[in-house]
Symmetry: C2
Subunit: 284 residues, 2 copies
């Protein structure tokens, strides 16, 4: 691991690191905010943030303003890039497939299968790296935006024991049912829609809630914020599908529909303080 950026921020340190990832077979970057307590060597809980389409590790750390709240609550915040990058990594000319659009899956189809393993990277390799290399406890929460909101929901629903809470801004809740998700899942996983279900929050809730196999004790505190002026609301996001699945499965969901807010980081910055407080409570 090599630190490539370091900036004092709200009494702590906003850093960017790069490292060789065996899971994705190439170099990965992540942003990490270390609150003052962590700089003093005290173990701190960790919030993972997964970004959306086209984003790198930079978008969240420069635009969301989360550092102030991370400092307040003494939480480490880790924001990885959204895919492997570079000349040796397959790509597509489209913004919604390939580099910058990993969709947090383990791809099984060529040419993607070798490198596009962001699910394993986020669930396993990255936390191991963070908990081994920084004063990070194993108290983890996860959040994200849009494609990253989808990633956060899927990762948390499939691994409830590894996380204390999950939240999302403007998530793609049902990738199997919307154009962004159908395109990506078909490319990365092939045409068998059964294989898509493990990466579809609505399908996971339907299969794993009270009416499915999982116990209530595996339900995580779940918070979703969605702007009602979001251009992608009806075509790609459709939070009402998650709401209906949660109601049916008895999975508690706090869904905030925010009047006038769009899909941008201005929306995230407006409510990231509430999400950080939500996670801080679960991580305490």
């Amino acid at each position: 691991m090599e630190r490539i950026e370091r900036h004092a921020s709200h009494g702590g340190s906003q850093e960017v690191w790069k490292h060789a990832s065996s899971v994705v077979g190439g170099e990965m970057k992540f942003g990490i905010y270390l609150p003052e307590a962590a700089l003093r060597g005290q173990q701190c809980p960790v919030l993972y943030w997964l970004s959306g389409l086209t984003c790198t590790e930079q978008n969240f750390i420069t635009k969301a303003g989360a550092q102030r709240y991370a400092a307040e609550h003494g939480i480490i915040v880790v924001a990885p890039d959204t895919s492997p990058r570079g000349d040796t990594v397959p790509d597509s000319p489209d913004y919604d497939l390939g580099q910058g659009a990993g969709f947090y899956v383990n791809a099984t189809r060529d040419p993607w299968a070798r490198h596009f393993r962001m699910y394993d990277y986020v669930v396993s390799e990255l936390p191991t790296l963070i908990e081994g290399g920084f004063p990070a406890s194993d108290a983890r929460s996860i959040s994200g935006h849009s494609m990253g909101g989808h990633g956060a929901l899927v990762v948390a629903l499939r691994n409830p024991g590894r996380y204390r809470s999950v939240s999302a801004f403007s998530p793609i809740v049902a990738p199997s049912q919307v154009p962004w998700g159908e395109k990506a899942l078909a490319a990365y996983l092939g045409d068998d829609r059964e294989a898509w279900k493990q990466y579809d929050a609505v399908a996971l809730v339907a299969n794993g809630g009270k009416s499915g196999g999982k116990s209530v004790s595996e339900q995580l505190p779940l918070l979703v914020d969605q702007g009602d002026a979001d251009d992608f609301l009806d075509t790609q996001l459709r939070p009402q599908l998650l709401q209906a699945a949660c109601e049916k499965a008895g999975y508690p969901l706090q869904l905030n529909l925010r009047e006038g807010y769009d899909h941008s980081y201005y929306f995230i910055a407006s409510f990231i303080g509430e999400h950080m407080a939500f996670h801080a409570k679960a991580l305490a």
Copy 2:
């Protein structure tokens, strides 16, 4: 004037507008944050923010996180571009001269004199536009970063009656004495260093404080924040020159040297809340 962006933010609206400027002879853009009270038509005071080298109207509005505090205090925040732009506007291949580097002067030398009139734009044309087109009162304060910190200091020191308070992050306090300033002022104003003094905060304080012509009643509340890990501290910024000039002239200055902070927006975001509170008090 035409609105080209609009995003709900912290209960208010972050917008970007463009307009034909007669002062700079071309199109200009500015960001404006309207707190909820302004959206309801209530007159609000205005903080002007001047950005640094290479910046557009976007940097501050996407990275500083000022909207939260502007919402809290009910302040409109206006952040103009740092120069005129476009194919018909002269430029230089250097990042520190020409487009993106207006230095908040009225240029008198060719090829710059026609368009590079950012001083008049900031002091006169922009406030007229804001106070005519938005629910903005004539209670004004001004702040900025680096080249924009220089601009804020110069504009306020020369027009104390037009502003209630002034602050700066990492300002170029004495452009006549540092490479960035010497290059820009020579290009825009020519080699006569006497002409530079009207755009040099240290010279203005020395000539206009108690020992000069101005009365104490014209002294504005003045706050400067400077990181001690700023790469430009000793070569381009040199806040101790302003401190010495203020001490000599009896001009009250609050200078905060911040341990470990650099020249980036992470620094600004860490202390913009304190600056907004400082201005809110003066604007009340």
